[in-house]
């Protein structure tokens, strides 16, 4: 089954700086999704990038996908304290169940 591995495990930056998180996966995908989880809360979908796309933007988020390297990155620009959370990538294959498998994530701390 598909599982992404996020890197780094933890990231601490100052407010206003950019945060970059990376994701690697192992098999072919239909799409790759990024989620955020604030402590003790449910996961929130951030962005979905399809296998035929290379880059996608949503507000302060920029996601890239390199299927040849089986990797993705999530860039959060001009970070805010409210961006403090754990971030997960979830590669989605052609499974007909639609399930996603989550890794350990990247814990981002944005200091005010």
């Amino acid at each position: 089954s598909q599982q992404g591995e996020e890197d780094p495990q933890a990231l601490s930056i100052q407010e206003g700086e950019n945060a970059t998180m990376n994701c690697s996966y192992k098999t072919s995908i239909n799409n790759l999704q990024w989620y955020r989880q604030n402590s003790g809360r449910g996961l929130v979908h951030l962005i979905l990038i399809r296998s035929n796309e290379r880059e996608k933007h949503s507000g302060r988020l920029r996601v890239t996908l390199d299927t040849s390297k089986k990797s993705s990155s999530l860039l959060i620009t001009a970070s805010r304290a409210a961006d403090t959370a754990s971030y997960f990538c979830a590669p989605q294959g052609s499974s007909n169940t639609g399930k996603l498998i989550f890794g350990q994530g990247t814990t981002l701390q944005v200091k005010p």
Binding site: Q33, G42, Q92
Partner: protein
């Protein structure tokens, strides 16, 4: 904006008791999921449900667990005889299609004493 709702938000139970966690998925969604997250650990897949039957389940989802969609709106997770190690946050999720985003509820925290 439509959302997935879960009840209860927190349940405390004695070991060996049965627990039912309830979820109301988004109304036009067809795929339903349960996940759990033990404190400090990653979010783990339990089961997916489509067309009124389990479509996939993980090794965690043993005979103690069952799911049901009793009335076309609710989606429930039952744990027959709870164990201490079942203490976790349980998340329900739903999706419209099997190649799209999952919408998660805020979770039900289960504490087994």
């Amino acid at each position: 904006e439509p959302e997935v709702t879960q009840t209860p938000s927190h349940q405390v139970t004695q070991m060996g008791q049965e627990v039912i966690l309830r979820c109301v998925p988004i109304s036009n969604h067809l795929y339903f999921y349960w996940y759990r997250q033990i404190l400090g650990q990653k979010v783990e897949f339990l089961v997916s449900f489509y067309n009124n039957e389990i479509s996939e389940k993980s090794e965690i989802f043993d005979d103690q667990f069952s799911v049901e969609r009793p009335d076309g709106s609710n989606f429930t997770l039952k744990i027959r005889s709870t164990k201490l190690e079942d203490s976790a946050m349980y998340f329900c999720a739903s999706s419209e299609v099997n190649t799209g985003e999952l919408f998660f509820g805020e979770g039900s925290r289960l504490t087994v004493l």
